[in-house]
């Protein structure tokens, strides 16, 4: 009997606290359907890794070493990018390319949070890793924070995925705060512009990879894998590979990614004052992303004859497609004939590209 209870005696309160956090993540995933594909594995992993003398520690460490750590090139997030690239249809963006400017503006939260994290005494590399929560893009956040060697990856991932799931709660009050009723009622032209040709759709991922690669060479892996997935989708001769990348590959990586992140959710590393601060700073990143996207739209309205509904600027964060849906829904709430989806989706996919560019620039600055 004493042998059976020996392990129990080594249990610490911090481990129990991590079980509660794990259970909370599982609850949010199942009951609230908040990013369930990642929060559920992360929650279960948090319990698994925090059992006293857990036999799962070794296997999760191995998964982390080969799948996420930069010893092996952050394999999992990068491979996941192939799947994400294959899922994205850039047509709304190619139809109206200037929407990309909103995606660029909505990365402001990343850099603002970097400065805020520095203010709170984080080392510049950790501050940059915390700022990247504002990319609203899990694989970019993992790849950048691993490349910069941040020890806070567990907290960064929990914050990033939780806030991505909370976009429908975070964005509407910020959008309302930054816009007037009159601005929210602006209707936008929904007539389709020139439909992009197949050649444009094929050349787009190649051209973007080359441009971003030249400016931010450290971003080549991120943007390259994303655009490779998109090229598979758009080339028209690899439909079977495209489907595999979108479904099987993405699902397979997602299963392992969540549980592997748990390697950095050990009680002694996770239950710190800094974790709370990182979660708070992550919220600022999302708020200022939204603010900057809306503000750019308002600024453009000062000079443009064709008015833009400033709400679409908020979709520039790369939480895809939640952010676009939030903006579309808000438009309909103000005026049930105001359909903003086409524009907000275009801005939203541009945010996906812009967040990778931001990640690449951060790596260029600090790695």
């Amino acid at each position: 009997m004493a042998d059976l209870l020996a392990n129990f005696a080594t249990l610490e309160w911090k481990q129990v606290a991590m079980w509660i956090i794990g259970a909370l993540l599982i609850y949010l995933a199942i009951k609230k359907e908040m990013e369930p594909s990642l929060l559920l594995p992360m929650g279960f992993g948090a319990i698994l890794i925090n059992l006293p003398n857990s036999g799962a520690q070794h296997v999760i460490d191995v998964l982390f070493k080969f799948g996420i750590s930069n010893d092996f090139g952050e394999l999992m997030p990068l491979v996941l990018f192939i799947g994400i690239g294959a899922m994205i249809d850039f047509t709304p963006l190619l139809t109206n390319p200037k929407l990309m400017l909103f995606g660029a503006a909505a990365q402001f939260g990343i850099f603002f949070t970097l400065c805020l994290a520095s203010l709170f005494g984080f080392d510049i590399k950790d501050a940059a890793s915390i700022g990247i929560i504002g990319a609203a893009d899990g694989p970019t956040a993992i790849a950048v924070s691993m490349e910069l060697g941040s020890k806070y990856i567990g907290a960064i991932m929990v914050a990033a995925y939780s806030y991505m799931a909370l976009v429908p709660l975070i964005q509407p009050p910020i959008i309302k705060l930054c816009t007037t009723k009159k601005e929210r009622l602006i209707r936008m032209d929904n007539t389709q512009g020139k439909t992009p040709s197949k050649l444009t759709k094929i050349l787009f991922p190649i051209v973007v990879t080359v441009i971003v690669g030249i400016v931010a060479p450290d971003a080549v892996a991120l943007i390259g894998f994303l655009m490779f997935g998109n090229l598979i989708r758009e080339c028209g001769v690899l439909n079977s590979l495209s489907e595999t990348a979108q479904k099987v590959l993405a699902n397979l990586i997602t299963i392992f990614l969540g549980i592997t992140i748990a390697a950095r959710m050990r009680a002694e590393e996770f239950l710190t004052w800094e974790t709370l601060l990182i979660i708070g700073l992550g919220l600022f990143a999302f708020i200022f992303d939204t603010f900057a996207g809306v503000m750019l739209a308002k600024l453009m309205n000062l000079f443009s004859k064709k008015k833009i509904n400033p709400m679409i600027g908020a979709a520039g964060i790369s939480a895809f497609p939640m952010s676009a849906r939030v903006v579309h829904k808000m438009g309909l709430e103000e005026d049930n004939q105001n359909f903003l989806l086409m524009h907000s989706i275009g801005v939203n996919v541009s945010g996906q590209i812009a967040s990778v560019i931001a990640g690449g620039l951060i790596l260029t600055f600090f790695s």
């Binding site: 963006l93 190619l94 390319p97 200037k98 990309m100 400017l101 995606g103 660029a104 990365q107 402001f108 990343i110 850099f111 603002f112 970097l114 400065c115 805020l116 520095s118 203010l119 709170f120 005494g121 510049i124 501050a127 940059a128 020139k194 992009p196 040709s197 197949k198 050649l199 444009t200 050349l203 787009f204 051209v207 973007v208 441009i211 971003v212 400016v215 931010a216 004052w273 601060l277 541009s350 590209i353 812009a354 560019i357 931001a358 620039l361 951060i362 600055f365």
Partner: protein, 56 residues
């Protein structure tokens, strides 16, 4: 009160000032890359598509 004191203790205003140029450089970098991509996409959209008729 303890939390507030802890936060005040952590504040490093010099580090904040030192990080500000990265915000400027980062946002400038993103906008430059974005504008280049927008120009390229506009150019791509203006490439006339060859129809089967043209090829004949």
């Amino acid at each position: 009160m303890d939390i507030l004191n802890k936060l005040l203790e952590m504040i490093d205003f010099d580090a904040f000032l030192a990080s500000l140029p990265y915000m400027g450089k980062g946002m400038l970098g993103i906008f430059i890359v974005t504008v280049i991509i927008v120009v390229f996409v506009n150019a791509l959209n203006n490439i006339p598509e060859k129809t089967k008729k043209d090829r004949k």
